[in-house]
Symmetry: C2
Subunit: 248 residues, 2 copies
DNA sequence: TCCTAACTCCGTATGCCTTACGGAAATGGT
DNA sequence: ACCATTTCCGTAAGGCATACGGAGTTAGGA
């Protein structure tokens, strides 16, 4: 990545703060950066990040492929803009109520976002872009636990914790949903093909606990798992632990 | 995916149980499936999953690209074999000690595995393959909490919980490590370019808590974060919550 | 012994992808 | 009126997975 690309991308991220800095010599652009970013988000929402391509973004805007590169430096920078854009979709209402309720809202907000935009879970996060919406949200997340009894260091850890936990559980949830909606071979067919091989190869007494637990889980949940309930269960345990830490 | 591919891949996954079923008409294969899988793991370890390609696996074995397809049906099936293979690297020692220690080991084992093979965090997990090592490990994970007071349903939830939590935190950790090792622009250069823009755009009073917390975290950890400590802190809170749930 | 079915290895081709480069045309400042 | 600047985009290079078919190798059966 070139340093001028970094500069340019930062300018795009903070475009609403900085205003549009261009000298306006040449032809007018037929689209706007916001339209490009929104089109890109739409493509990723519909098809996921692996199938997300510059060409599909261009098609959606009635532009040809290479024109997209006059709006953004490249694919990965565009993804950075998409991440900050969707981080701005949620409201960040003033915090109220007890600590537990505040932390719950922080986690729930991320849970919702991951389900609205499952491709967020596939974004490579080394060297994350620092954009306005991501920054605002981090401030809001910290504000949720400000004054609760954590040190500054612990505040950062708690936010990282709630985010990482929620991301991990959302990944399981989103994967399960994708499996259910998967085109091609259906779930039933899948098991029809798997079952005979697995029965031959996994004698029941080799997996006594898995067998029992899997049977119960399969009856209780209609399919494989109920990720939302697992998220709630885990979040409650994690919050119990955090409350205990603050109070004790 | 064709149903015959599913059958074939299951056969490959359970190859040690099933034996090699081939009629042996044609020429002998120059490599073995195990060599292919091990070469593939080596490529992914060194370059990550996006840069992992069938050609690189072939090169490493002295074969030409298309020969790989006589060993495995395709790229995604090969990745399935890799996942099960690395799941077999860890020992699954008999459980001992109190519940907390057992759960800690379950989480630590995954934490280590994610750091030994960071590409595991990039694997698409819808419709996971059911292989022998993954199955054995699930049984072992359940055994860790058997008899601790959870219902069967809760046992599955707790294992999912520990796995998901650990995956979420490991992702942050691995991303941070990748950033540190990143070639191209160094961390220092990165911030040198970011700083002037961000200072102009993020006045200190707009982000009072982030500013304070970020400063403290930046001093305490030398760079951005210390993911291992955050993982430990979070795991302790989660285990506190789970113990409280079991005991009360 | 020898034929032939089955199998391995791999060259070629198709159709994706990102992105570098350069040309044509449009536009606004001077 | 000119021309620097900018947009749009065609082309091409170099990457990817994988379908298809051909050539050569091997073992089993006649």
């Amino acid at each position: 990545m070139e340093s001028q690309d970094i500069d340019r991308t930062l300018g795009l991220l903070w475009r609403r703060t900085l205003g549009t800095p261009q000298g306006s010599r040449g032809p007018k652009q037929r689209a706007t950066i916001d339209e490009v970013v929104r089109a890109a988000i739409a493509v990723a929402d519909e098809e996921g990040l692996p199938a997300f391509s510059m060409r599909k973004v261009a098609d959606r805007l009635g532009l040809k492929l290479m024109s997209i590169y006059t709006y953004v430096p490249g694919r990965s920078e565009l993804i950075g803009l998409m991440v900050d854009e969707v981080a701005g979709e949620q409201k960040l209402p003033p915090h109220e109520g007890p600590l537990r309720q505040r932390m719950t809202r922080v986690a729930e907000q991320l849970w919702d976002e991951f389900h609205r935009h499952p491709w967020l879970l596939q974004v490579e996060n080394s060297r994350p872009w620092i954009g306005p919406n991501v920054s605002d949200r981090y401030e809001w997340q910290l504000a949720a636990i400000e004054g609760a009894g954590f040190t500054d260091l612990q505040m950062d850890q708690v936010v990282t914790l709630l985010s990482g936990f929620t991301a991990g559980m959302a990944r399981a949830s989103v994967d399960a949903r994708r499996t259910a909606e998967r085109s091609g071979i259906s779930d039933a067919e899948w098991w029809e093909i798997n079952a005979p091989v697995l029965e031959r190869v996994m004698p029941a007494d080799a997996y006594p606990i898995s067998g029992r637990v899997g049977r119960v889980a399969g009856e209780e949940y209609n399919a494989i798992d109920d990720p939302e309930r697992t998220f709630r269960f885990g979040l409650d345990r994690l919050l119990d632990g955090l409350e205990q830490f603050v109070n004790g």
